[in-house]
Subunit: 218 residues, 2 copies
DNA sequence: AGAACATGAATGACTATTCATTCATGTAAT
DNA sequence: ATTACATGAATGAATAGTCATTCATGTTCT
């Protein structure tokens, strides 16, 4: 891959720059079109139109339609993983790490609703299409949750009888479904903070009413 | 009335029976093929082959390819909803109702892994394909969770500060993701009971270590 | 000029759907 | 009981339409 220095906002007077612009223009367009139509219903010509390039131009940058989808995953999920890891590494308290993860995920999904949809729907579908694409970035992403939980168990803030493998899935599933619906429909009126706090509450304390605590210490 | 022998040895006394058989044979075949290949990659001829009918026969029972997918949802999810509602109605304790829902869901997903995959993947995709399909059965299904939570809040077993709309999504998402992965890969070694108890634990008590409780009696 | 880049109409492969025909079974007539 | 007729379920080859991909041609750089 050649994504070394290609950040937006800086004009480089080399011909290479032009090419990189097209590359990312096509990626962005693909995200948008895949989100709107789904991978299979999306036409190359739709993506070309959205990116304002000719159909044939797309084949100067990508091998085929699947390659576009794959590139979208690698590049876009990669960004999220990188950013999340970056933020979490600085923390040491598992509780806070988990809160950061949630907030970060919801923010990312809110910021780019199209990408959220592509990830949520096409990622699953894609296993069937691209036979040996392993979703490395995605697995890495979910793995972060598992590591946080394990860390919390070592330091004693999380129970030992919680299975981190199951927990990380349940945790991600909850986050994912909430943000999926949140993007699609009714629940638009909830804020990131509101959903964040609800999800943290679920996972840390559950939904049960707290037992009456006759506490010696409070 | 009857001819003694038919050439092929089978008697089909009622022509209608034959028809109903075909309908459900096609549905089952479709579930299998959609699960294996995904809706778009699946060919009508694949389904026909799997159902052991001719391509054209399918159009005697369904209007088109989408109609098959839609029927799969309506009929198969309908069955699950019916069975679940049936079991839950007999209960009055929200805690037990929730446990039944979880066990029921996991069992259903385990019993028919293909259906699980179709629901988990294609159901989401379908909004884009079938423009005005509202996933009525599916919404109804998730709604059950919301009702249980609300009931629990009225009787005081669940906190009032839990938002049932968000909670039902988080709850379903967790269940869904766990059973999705469970079907696909590694985690096959967990039992329904193990996963059930983990999920119940998450939602009722969270993952935090319980605060030291100094009981009133000591 | 030559190279690199871009275009979009034309190609060709693929597959959902149709429909003329066959076939199995039921009914009526003898 | 046998034959003739009627019904409509089932078939699968042919059709018709859709797109991903290519490539002959144009444009823009150095």
């Amino acid at each position: 891959m050649f994504s070394d220095f290609s950040l937006f906002g800086f004009e480089q007077p080399f011909s290479k720059m032009k090419a990189e612009n097209k590359h990312s223009k096509i990626i962005s367009a693909a995200v948008k079109v895949f989100a709107k139509k789904g991978f299979f219903t999306a036409r190359i010509s739709d993506i070309a139109k959205e990116a304002k390039v000719a159909d044939g131009t797309i084949y100067l940058y990508f091998n085929n339609k699947y390659d576009i989808l794959l590139s979208v995953f690698e590049e876009e999920i990669g960004k999220i993983v990188k950013k999340t890891v970056n933020l979490i590494e600085k923390e040491s308290d598992p509780q806070i790490m988990l809160e950061i993860f949630i907030a970060q995920h919801l923010l990312a999904m809110k910021k780019n609703k199209n990408l959220a949809e592509v990830i949520q729907i096409e990622l699953r579908q894609s296993n069937k299409v691209i036979k040996n694409y392993r979703n490395n970035k995605f697995t890495e992403y979910i793995g972060i949750i598992g590591e946080i939980i394990e860390k919390g168990q070592k330091t004693g803030v999380y129970r030992d009888d919680v299975n981190p493998e199951i927990a990380k899935r349940a945790f991600f599933g909850a986050l994912d479904e909430v943000s999926r619906v949140w993007n699609v429909s009714l629940e638009t009126h909830y804020t990131v903070e509101e959903i964040s706090s609800q999800i943290i509450q679920f996972f840390l304390s559950g939904i049960s009413s707290p037992p009456l605590q006759v506490s010696g210490k409070s």
